[in-house]
Symmetry: C2
Subunit: 228 residues, 2 copies
Amino acid sequence: MNIATVNKISRPSKKQRIDTIVESARSIFCSHGFEKGSIEDIAKDAGIAEGTIYSYFDSKRGLLNEVLRRHYSIFFDDIEQTLLSIEGPRNRLRYLIRRTLIIISEDRNMCGLRTLYAREIDDKRPSLSHDQNRRMAGLMENEIKAGMEEGSFRPDTSSRIACYMIGGALELTEYSYLRTGKPIDIDKVTDSIWQMIRGGIESREATTEPLARLIERLEHVTDRLDPM
Amino acid sequence: MNIATVNKISRPSKKQRIDTIVESARSIFCSHGFEKGSIEDIAKDAGIAEGTIYSYFDSKRGLLNEVLRRHYSIFFDDIEQTLLSIEGPRNRLRYLIRRTLIIISEDRNMCGLRTLYAREIDDKRPSLSHDQNRRMAGLMENEIKAGMEEGSFRPDTSSRIACYMIGGALELTEYSYLRTGKPIDIDKVTDSIWQMIRGGIESREATTEPLARLIERLEHVTDRLDPM
DNA sequence: ACAGAATAATGAATTTAACTCAATTATCGA
DNA sequence: TCGATAATTGAGTTAAATTCATTATTCTGT
């Protein structure tokens, strides 16, 4: 009876099986891409039958979603934790920008999957990528709003558009990295985005210098008329 | 012999045939989406055989590219023309932002195709969408650089990142419109982006407070010189 | 320890849709 | 009018996701 028991191939737990599938999927999608990496490849890699994958996942797309969800949810958890220890909306916003760039730099393959295939509008439910972007955008918008309340950001700014500008710049930086493979200079990009956010590109000379000169002259005149 | 000649279905010119195919493809892709709109559908709509499509286009993807290329190249030509008649980098940059939003608003289906399917990295050639984004980004970058030379934009800004921020914000606005269908408030979005670009979100307290103090003093002085 | 119920895994069959190509039809030049 | 050339056809091929009847394993109550 032991022999019989031993000969039977014992099955891994549900969790283990899912882990195996997702890990194989990650590996295949990263090396071949989503479209060229087939379910057959994944099943082979995981050492199981194709049908088994379908008893755990609705579709190839659903499998991709899970691969991405697992990869990025780790970062989100960490980011939300780290934010708690950073003081001030400015610093937190800057951290979010920088951190995003680091994540992008760390795994080009995964970003490729996310960028190229996860943006879908499937009639019904919004895509995972959309959820993740919302989550990140939400974190940023929080900081922008906090900054406005605190008085360090202009209250007449559209926080939504500010988020779009930051998020959009990060996405395009990511896409450029994807295409060219040229490493991202994280400090430089962070600083550039940060500078744009803070001060825009309008030259300060035009408005502030004449104004400063005027203030000086008026103060001078006022001093004479109304000595303090 | 005339009868024979008449019975023969005369073939349209090469150009006409291609036009028909592209127009049917546009119609089918717009109504069903790229993935769900099949070559069979397109052939049926155009009143031809599937094989004929393949004698004019390499692949379904290539057909999509042509649909998009035709749609957007018209706008680009017009934009480049219009730019010539606008004075100053600021105005031209603002026009580019506004105009892009108008194009997005005008055809949601087409933007859906562009946004969702045209971003690809096909090992070899960059995607059409990429080319178009480059073209638009190029136009914007020109204006930003011109603005720097002219002295109205800060010269220490990264024009690349500035483009990414503008382009990224436009893309995200587009995507949001795609998902929700909520009309874009073109003026408001243009103004918000424009404001961020020009002045950033940093509070102007540093300059406004001294100014406020001065105003107070001036009012005081004026009261004395010219009592009400 | 065992029967049988419940659950999981299998892989061959189905389906779908892009793409091919040999055969057919139309056009063109002499 | 007759080949030669080019365009069109649509049935056939291929590839890959998805399904499902069958088989294998595990679990449960006795």
